[in-house]
């Protein structure tokens, strides 16, 4: 398989994964609906989106989420802490997804930890894109304007 073929196949597999996992991210948003938009604000979600888009390593994303959870714990907002911990677990699980996807792509080059981390970050970015869209989608406008 040429490099171009590999890149096209990778792109297609990621697109299929993203479409398949949109429902899963929506379920996560729905299961934490009671925290939106007052306990978990839109600004926090946008902040998460920015971090996920700009992270150079997956660890950067996890560090951001851990800090959010710690901040919530310090102020006694245990429900919010729970949200961030749940999200950390959900995104961490995508590591296995990235690993499985990499296995199906017979890379022309040796795929190392760098490739795996990059793919994990990409899947996390897509998951968070779905999460933010779905979180905002069902957020009652009235409550939002009361913020």
């Amino acid at each position: 398989m040429s490099n171009l073929e590999y890149l096209l196949k990778r792109k297609q597999r990621i697109a299929a994964w993203s479409d398949r996992w949109q429902a899963e991210a929506a379920r996560f948003a729905d299961s934490h609906r009671d925290l939106l938009p007052k306990r978990i604000t839109n600004a926090q979600l946008y902040g998460l989106g920015n971090v996920v888009r700009s992270a150079r390593r997956y660890a950067d994303i996890e560090r951001f989420i851990r800090r959010q959870a710690e901040k919530a714990e310090r102020t006694g907002r245990l429900d919010v802490q729970g949200y961030w911990n749940d999200l950390k677990d959900a995104l961490r699980k995508l590591h296995d997804e990235a690993q499985a996807l990499l296995k199906t792509l017979l890379s022309p080059r040796t795929s190392g930890r760098e490739d795996l981390d990059m793919l994990h970050r990409e899947l996390a970015r897509l998951y968070v894109q779905h999460l933010i869209a779905h979180s905002l989608y069902w957020t009652p406008v009235k409550e939002e304007s009361e913020q």
């Binding site: 792109k11 297609q12 697109a15 299929a16 993203s18 479409d19 949109q22 897509l126 894109q129 779905h130 933010i132 869209a133 779905h134 979180s135 905002l136 989608y137 069902w138 957020t139 406008v141 939002e144 304007s145």
Partner: protein
């Protein structure tokens, strides 16, 4: 040309025909959405933006995420959130998956094509994306036409 290549070309032709047939069916429904959108504060740029996104992305979820975000941000309910038009459109586009499934299933069995060779497991998703593009292409065209009529 090998037998497999011939079958692949036949499959492609049958697929294009089926998508074109569905596209023609969508025209009326797309016009209804365009009509509803003319009563919002949305302008041509925003509707064209959706059409452009659909024609350039390789994911159906990019299209529905885009719409969901705009519905969610429209706190005044004057744009995509007005009278539930954005939500209905999300449901409509997601529902096109059923048509995509039907098209692929019919190709598998009805046309007698590709029985001897495995069909791309991602085909249904790709057809779904094509159908979304077709629907939104009609919607954007009707919207521009109706908007121009309205402004005359």
């Amino acid at each position: 040309m090998s037998e497999q290549s011939v079958q692949e070309v036949a499959l492609r032709v049958a697929l294009e025909r089926a998508i074109a047939r569905k596209s023609d069916e969508y025209d009326r429904r797309a016009r209804e959405y365009a009509d509803r959108l003319t009563s919002t504060k949305l302008d041509k740029t925003q509707v064209r933006g959706l059409e452009t996104l659909a024609s350039t992305t390789d994911k159906v979820s990019d299209i529905t995420d885009w719409l969901k975000l705009r519905v969610g941000r429209d706190s005044k309910r004057e744009g995509w959130a007005k009278d539930g038009v954005g939500r209905d459109l999300v449901t409509e586009l997601e529902g096109l998956r059923r048509d995509a499934r039907k098209i692929v299933d019919e190709l598998r069995v009805g046309e007698g094509i590709a029985l001897a060779y495995p069909v791309d497991p991602d085909l249904e998703r790709q057809v779904h994306l094509r159908l979304c593009r077709e629907f939104l292409k009609h919607l954007a065209a009707h919207f521009e036409y109706l908007k121009a009529e309205q402004e005359r």
